[in-house]
């Protein structure tokens, strides 16, 4: 398994550095490739235009069969699907994960999720959630009900 893990992440890193999608930059990838920091920029003409956010990716040895753990760090965007502890409510990060998804496609999904927001606000249950949530968002049982934003 770890063979796939290394090969795949090395290639993803190479691709992202050689040929990065608009507004997505790999800030730092650990030598063992297990933890990455990726900076994404809010798309032009959206509520987050010009803002930059830092995402942390953590990969288990089972990647890409198992989804990475993805959270926002430091400056956490105010968005109805992003909790103030950095956890993101996005189905492809949890039960809709597919091994064919990549870091690049995850970043693009998050960028597009930011772009489609119409109002900067926290999720309605934010206060409750951050009190009870575990450190890793993968320990939460997510219910996905809003396909629009």
């Amino acid at each position: 398994m770890s063979n796939i893990f290394t090969k795949r992440l090395t290639k993803e890193l190479r691709d992202l550095q050689a040929n990065p999608p608009a507004g997505i930059v790999v800030d730092k990838a650990d030598d063992d490739l297990k933890s990455w920091k990726v900076v994404i920029r809010g798309a032009e003409g959206t509520l987050y235009d010009g803002e930059t956010f830092k995402l942390q990716f953590k990969f288990s040895n089972n990647y890409p069969l198992e989804s990475p753990e993805v959270i926002f760090l430091d400056n956490i965007p105010i968005h109805p699907h992003i909790y103030s502890n950095g956890h993101i409510c996005l189905s492809i990060l949890y039960d809709q994960w597919s091994p064919a998804l990549t870091i690049s496609s995850v970043c693009l999904s998050i960028q597009s999720m930011l772009s489609s927001a119409v109002k900067k606000e926290r999720p309605p249950d934010n206060a409750m959630y951050i009190l009870t949530a575990k450190k890793s968002p993968k320990a939460t049982t997510w219910a996905f009900h809003d396909d629009k934003v």
Binding site: L65, E66, I92, P99
Partner: protein, 576 residues
Amino acid sequence: MSAMDYDDDYMDDDDVDEYDSDTGMDVDDDGEDDYGAGDGFAPVVADRDVKKPYEVDFKVHSTDEIVAFQTKEVAHVAGILGCLPEHAATLLRTFKWNKERLIERYMEDPEGESEKAGVVMDAQKQAKFAIVKGFECPICCNDDADMETLALHCEHRFCRDCYAHYLNEKVAEQGESRRIQCMSAGCKVVVDEITVEKVVAPEILAKYRSLLLRTYVDDSVHLKWCPAPDCVYAIECHIASNQLLEVVPTVRCKCGHQFCFGCGLPDHQPCICVLVRFWLKKCADDSETANWISANTKECMKCMSTIEKNGGCNHMTCKKCKHEFCWVCLGPWSDHGTAWYNCNRFDEKASIDARDTQAKSRQALERYLHYYNRYANHEQSAKLSSELLEKTAIKMEALQSTSTLSWIEVQFLRKACDVLLESRMTLKWTYSFAYFLSRDNMTALFEDNQRDLEMAVENLNELLERPIPGVDVASTAATTITPQQQPSHHHVNNGAGTPTSMSKEPSATSLPPLTPSHSTPSVLVEDSIRDLRQQVLDKMGYVKTRREVLLSDTTQGLREHRWGMNVDMKTGILFD
């Protein structure tokens, strides 16, 4: 016995209704015809002549029978649709084994339904391994020239190794089977059985097959796995969910485990599933803590903080808001002046209201505790059953060695213990049932039945605990075995005797034929034992009758909607 006759008639009618309503479920009806044909599906309850109102029909199936039944269904559908059995199986699983609906839908739109189920009928389009030049697997990024790749009809191509890892993970780790999808994000195409077969190792395939098999029972509303640990049997029972309000469908698996088909919990007759759920929730959650609070505390009239008075005078000062009030009448302290001991504000509306609420919740608490204590008491007694069984086993041993009674003749004690336990379980649940009954004449009848059963049970229990005159249990069980009894030991003791007696046998052969202490009073002892046997049998019979009466009448009452309930059946909230 006109009442009983009426019971039977009523049941007969009801049976007819049940079968009528079931004819829509063809899958199982077919099955029943087959069982009749004598292919091993023997009815378990054949030894009961007349079904009692509280009993339901059920059958126990082994895994092999389930497999055979499934295979037959698949072959049947494959014949009608003209496709491979594997495809028919996938379609049937998608339609939760509803054959009619599948055939109807399939006839309308064969391609659409196959696609939805992830079935590829065309053998040409069936996924097969291919070596594609210049292909790089999007998952492992491998691009070896001789790498085998695989794509389902959605054309999402991945390498063989990634497919194998993926399917291993899904089957072995996540226990999925019939809904494993293509690895591509968002692709809904199901990985079919033939493809899984090609890719995975034999042990994973075996697991996959057994998971698929389980879905048959899981999908069917008339089948349930026996919840006992490691039990391999499934139970078939035709009970509609709305019937659960009228009867507790207790079934007994071949492994001996007795459980409710409706909710899977151990037998809880006569209390219906929904009430059991409310009751267990009530016992488990801390709603009684809340009840205690309202029964033993008062609220500050100003800030509503909860206060328990544990000493001191009646001049209360709320720690939170500094409101001063009188504990007795809850009115503000300022009104009391210095002559407050006469507390002339007794009639003030606010204080009456406060008192009323408190009295009410105190009463509710007492009521709950009344039922709970009795419920818990029977549960506790049942837990001590292993002790009673042990004691009884020793007693049975002693009886055999003291009298001329044979192994089979002392089995009445064992049987009596079983009846006792069964009735204790019933009694336990009568208290949870009674908790939800509103007070009326019908409830009085129920309580009469409950009382009769309880008295009978206690009498029987006392009799079983009583030492048998002339039989020294301690010494007999430990050492003395007369040689006359030994042959019978050898033949019939399988499993029932205590291990001590077995291990003592070699040394026992050296004992004299009959010890003098046994010879003279043995006639008297035997008389008293026969006397006891008669008593136990009588009392046991009575307990059984009382239990039957109670269960029959309760079920009958549920059918006739005779019981007034003081609970909202949807929310479980008690009415005032």
